[in-house]
């Protein structure tokens, strides 16, 4: 409360126009709704606890922030930081296990926490709308889209069915759904993911709410669709004058949207302030670290990614001191002792860092392993041996999809005629949107699936036709690290067993003692303590699991590892750790990687060469420098432009060049160039022939007729 008062005072000092609206104790004066003129939403000292099997967990501790009319506020944080809980608390939609234990949520001067169910229902949907993360599951599958949009109109505006329908059609048009009238009678499954999110937005806009809370609105979407949706929301909020709270972990999204940013860490607000201030002059060491960890497309590639070492705290345990202190390189003794209050900073924001002032005057800064040290090309192999390790030729994989209800069996051309090579010790980055076939390529290389056509050679040996024994031997040489660090470890086996099993099966070590020794060694290589040996996957964190996955791959001493979205599911700060680990291991053991990812920035960071795929075909292959500096294929160019960067100035200035339309159905890919339906430069010619992948510059090959 003290912290909050101070914060209030700071704001009061900043913005005298609001001063009269508050009583000294911070409580809103009982103004009528009409004449209320204070902040639209004000969260004060919010505490939320969850009841779990192991007792109470403090999900939110003393969270305070405000949202003004027409303002876009971003709440940023990693998983578990409490940002979604905050959103649900405002909406009064906490799950049964969770309950508010303290604080106030004032909306237009009314404390939402004191409202009864009926009054709260009236506010939900009418005054505050919410957009959820996953459009695939957030719409009711058995109700028409029209009904779902019209429902709020009929509840809150008392419209007749016809009126509501008409308005629903208008709303659909507004959010950019073509042929809105006819699509009202369709069901959610007849819409693509992007279109569903547009429908969600239409539902949110239905009653002209004063505030929209969007919880990770674009996380489940592909980069190109994400850009479209972001653009739409930004446009609407400006046009309709709706205040927004955006909950996200993506700093690029924040940069594009937000007027103000609230950074959360482990259930507390770490820092808040204007977007510019937070991005360029962070006054909390966590914010500083977070910003450094994000791989960026807009600045020079650094040798190593910055990473925040360690793990977020376990909120089911009592917390002491600054929650970030255990991971903070600049923590002092006081940080571990006292809980820092939110205090105003020199940038006009609030920070809960004891060393905020020191940060402000430059006495303290984030010191990671490579802060600010742009050292391009430092870890490039000095004189690459150019020895081909993997050679892929005309790789093709088609799936026959048996339709359960109606229609003929259809063929999905997941991978069509893909050829590439990977040299010893190099990293080939493979990027593309979901459904482009990049993961299938990885699985085919590992022979987890059989190719329909094509040939894969590994160290000169044919993998595609390898017999049982030969394949078994080959499998020691190439390994895999999967995306989902939880699902990739057998939950019934201990960490030790998981790493030791390949050692035993392939008789790499002999005897229990030797195996144990080797397992500990491998654990050490991936920076895990040997005492994890007897734990089970569910007992360790996501980042640790991913390290175990890498250790398991390393156990075979492979010369090639397929990293299938290996860091995609991890938080930014953890992502950096794993990427660095992979880089270290590559240097040490000269392992080649096929690094499959959808995040262009991460791929850029780790790869020596990059390949872009679209609808099962390779669009462009080039060295990292060449591709990112001068992308040739229109798809690559648009992809790079669509990715938001964590820089509010750049983001707010740039005119987004959007990729039109949606990803075509993999059942019916366009004739000719698969990208032609969305390509800005395509013409009739593109629909006739499938463009060959041809070398435009040395080592830079593009499949486009227009280059």
């Amino acid at each position: 409360m003290v912290a909050f008062c101070e914060a209030m005072m700071a704001r009061v000092a900043d913005e005298p126009s609001r001063a009269g609206r508050h009583t000294p104790d911070g409580r809103h004066a009982p103004f009528g709704e009409r004449c209320y003129n204070g902040p639209l939403l004000s969260v004060q000292g919010l505490h939320v606890a969850f009841k779990t099997a192991r007792g109470h967990t403090e999900a939110l501790t003393d969270v305070s922030f405000e949202v003004d009319r027409n303002e876009v506020v971003a709440v940023v944080g990693e998983s578990g930081s409490g940002k979604s809980v905050t959103a649900l608390s405002i909406m009064g939609l906490l799950p049964d296990a969770g309950h508010v234990t303290g604080g106030r949520i004032n909306f237009e001067g009314r404390d939402l926490l004191t409202l009864d169910a009926k009054a709260m229902r009236e506010i939900r949907g009418r005054d505050i709308a919410m957009i959820f993360q996953d459009p695939m599951t957030s719409l009711n599958p058995i109700l028409t889209v029209g009904y779902q949009i019209a429902e709020s109109l009929r509840i809150h505006k008392g419209m007749s069915a016809d009126q509501a329908r008409q308005r629903a059609a208008e709303l659909l048009t507004l959010v950019g759904v073509p042929e809105a009238e006819s699509r009202l009678d369709q069901y959610p499954h007849q819409f693509s993911g992007g279109m569903r999110q547009r429908v969600m937005i239409a539902i949110g806009l239905a009653c002209d709410p004063k505030l929209i809370i969007a919880d990770e609105p674009t996380t489940a979407l592909d980069v190109t669709i994400q850009a479209q949706i972001l653009e739409l929301m930004k446009d609407l909020s400006v046009r309709l004058g709706i205040a927004m709270v955006i909950i996200t972990h993506n700093l690029g999204v924040v940069a594009r949207y937000a007027d103000r940013v609230v950074v959360m860490y482990a259930g507390r607000v770490a820092e808040q302030g204007s977007a510019e201030a937070v991005f360029f002059r962070p006054r909390h060491l966590y914010t500083a670290g977070l910003l450094c960890s994000v791989p960026r497309l807009d600045s020079e590639r650094r040798a190593r990614l910055e990473a925040i070492e360690g793990l977020p705290p376990d909120l089911s345990k009592a917390q002491e001191g600054c929650r970030f202190a255990p991971r903070c390189p600049q923590a002092v003794a006081a940080c571990l002792r006292e809980v820092p209050a939110l205090r105003p900073t020199d940038t006009g924001g609030l920070s809960a860092c004891l060393r905020a002032d020191e940060l402000a005057d430059g006495r303290v800064r984030w010191v990671g392993n490579a802060y600010g040290a742009a050292q391009p090309g430092q870890n490039e192999p000095a004189a690459p041996a150019r020895k081909v390790l993997v050679r892929v030729d005309g790789l093709t994989r088609h799936y026959a999809v048996q339709s359960s209800w109606g229609g003929p069996n259809r063929t999905v051309k997941a991978v069509s005629d893909v050829s590439f090579t990977i040299d010893v010790g190099e990293t080939l980055g493979l990027v593309g949107e979901s459904g482009c076939g990049k993961s299938t390529v990885g699985r085919l290389l590992l022979r987890l699936e059989e190719p329909t056509a094509g040939r894969i050679e590994f160290e000169g040996r044919d993998v595609t036709h390898a017999g049982h024994g030969e394949l078994r031997a080959l499998r020691r040489r190439f390994q895999v690290v999967f995306q989902d660090p939880y699902a990739s470890l057998n939950p019934r086996k201990s960490i030790g067993d998981i790493i030791a099993e390949p050692l035993r099966v392939h008789r790499i070590t002999s005897g229990a003692a030797a195996t144990r020794e080797r397992v500990d060694e491998l654990l050490a290589q991936v920076s895990l303590r040997p005492d994890l040996h007897d734990r089970f996957p569910h007992q360790i964190s996501g980042g640790q699991r991913q390290r175990v996955g890498i250790a398991r791959a390393l156990a075979m001493e492979p010369s090639f590892i397929v990293c299938d979205e290996a860091v995609s599911a991890l938080d930014v700060s953890i992502q950096g750790q794993i990427v660095n680990l992979l880089a270290d291991l590559q240097e040490k053991h000269s392992i080649a990687y096929l690094f499959i990812a959808h995040d262009l920035a991460v791929v850029r960071h780790i790869s020596t060469r990059v390949m872009v795929m679209y609808l099962g075909r390779v669009m462009e292959v080039a060295s990292r420098e060449s591709l990112y500096r001068e992308p040739l294929h229109p798809y690559t160019r648009l992809l790079l432009e669509a990715a938001p960067t964590p820089d509010p100035v750049k983001e707010k200035q740039r005119e987004a060049a959007l990729i039109r339309g949606e990803l075509p159905s993999p059942f019916a890919p366009p004739s000719g160039c698969p990208f032609r339906t969305r390509c800005p430069v395509a013409d009739a010619e593109c629909s006739l022939t499938v463009p060959e992948l041809r070398e435009v510059r040395p080592g830079h090959r593009v499949a486009c007729l227009k280059i």
Partner: protein, 317 residues
């Protein structure tokens, strides 16, 4: 859709052919046949030649593969042959008893749904409360009581308390609906109660699952009333799996009725099966088993179609 239907029907036919072959072979695993049971059961000395003549008449002396060919061939022509015990066509034996069984099955299903739907919804909505616990325990308890024991207690209770027993002669539904009801309501209650427990449990868990779905949260975020959320948003989705369960249960009801018909002395196909098994009436057993299988697969098929009709994700593809 037609293509799907065709494929599905072909699969049904294959399954039924498998059942036909399976039951035929099963019945011929061990020696002994209807002739032994028919002529020796009441004592007296029946000579070997009499038995042999009867075997010849029934075709039981022919090689198994010939009998098999005849059986399968008959099925193709939709002929089930004649009962080896009574000599009447199997189809006739079955059809004269099917009505009672179907009537009880339908009544039981209606009773089950009427009981189960409110129970299931109440249990799910009051999740974790004493009411939910009570319904859970009760439904489990209900499923744990042997149906034949329950039937016995019901019958004896009626006799002891009211000195009244349900009518023993079959009363036609069309001639005397009330009399028919007083006769069939008891077995229908016994079977329906059990089925209701099954459906209520299913409905509870599927409703609970649905209430945790994201789209329910979406509806709440729109300010929809809880009652509307349950009725309009949740129930429809929760009933979809329940439709399958009701279909399955209905299809399996014929099995449950085997015991119940015995207890209540209903002249249905369940009692007929027990009788046929006791008499080793191969053709009748085969015919009845085919009936059960056809009933099961067609109810399942109908359930699939119903599911498709109810679920837009399947209907509109």
């Amino acid at each position: 859709m037609p293509r799907y239907l065709g494929a599905k029907l072909l699969q049904l036919v294959l399954t039924l052919a498998g059942v036909a072959a399976l039951i035929f072979l099963l019945l011929r695993v061990l020696p002994g046949d209807v002739v032994e049971a028919k002529y020796l059961a009441e004592g007296g000395n029946v000579s070997e030649e009499v038995l042999a003549a009867e075997r010849t008449r029934l075709g039981l002396d022919r090689p198994t593969h010939e009998q098999f060919a005849e059986w399968m061939g008959g099925l193709v022509r939709l002929e089930l042959g004649r009962s080896m015990w009574t000599g009447r066509p199997v189809a006739e034996e079955i059809s004269s008893r099917l009505a009672v069984t179907m009537e009880v099955a339908v009544m039981a299903t209606v009773i089950a749904i009427v009981i189960a739907v409110p129970l299931g919804i109440a249990s799910a909505l009051a999740h974790g409360s004493w009411l939910d616990q009570a319904i859970r325990v009760l439904t489990v308890a209900w499923l744990s009581v042997p149906a034949f024991w329950l039937g016995m207690l019901v019958l004896l209770g009626l006799l002891l308390v009211f000195e009244w027993g349900p009518p023993i002669e079959h009363i036609s539904l069309f001639e005397d609906p009330l009399g028919n009801l007083t006769q069939l309501i008891w077995p229908a209650l016994v079977v329906g109660a059990r089925m209701s427990a099954m459906i209520a449990r299913m409905l509870r868990s599927s409703l609970l699952e649905v209430l945790n779905e994201d789209y329910i949260r979406t509806a709440r975020s729109k300010g929809v009333r809880e009652s509307t959320i349950v009725a309009r948003h949740a129930l429809g989705n929760a009933l979809l799996p329940a439709v399958t369960v009701v279909g399955m249960e209905f299809a399996f009801l014929l099995g449950g009725l085997v015991v119940t018909e015995q207890v209540f002395n209903l002249n249905g196909i369940g009692k007929l099966l027990i009788q046929a098994v006791g008499q080793n009436d191969f053709t009748l057993i085969q015919g009845l088993v085919m009936l059960f299988a056809v009933f099961f697969v067609s109810v399942n098929f109908a359930t699939d179609l119903l599911y498709a009709a109810l679920d837009p994700r399947v209907r509109l593809r």
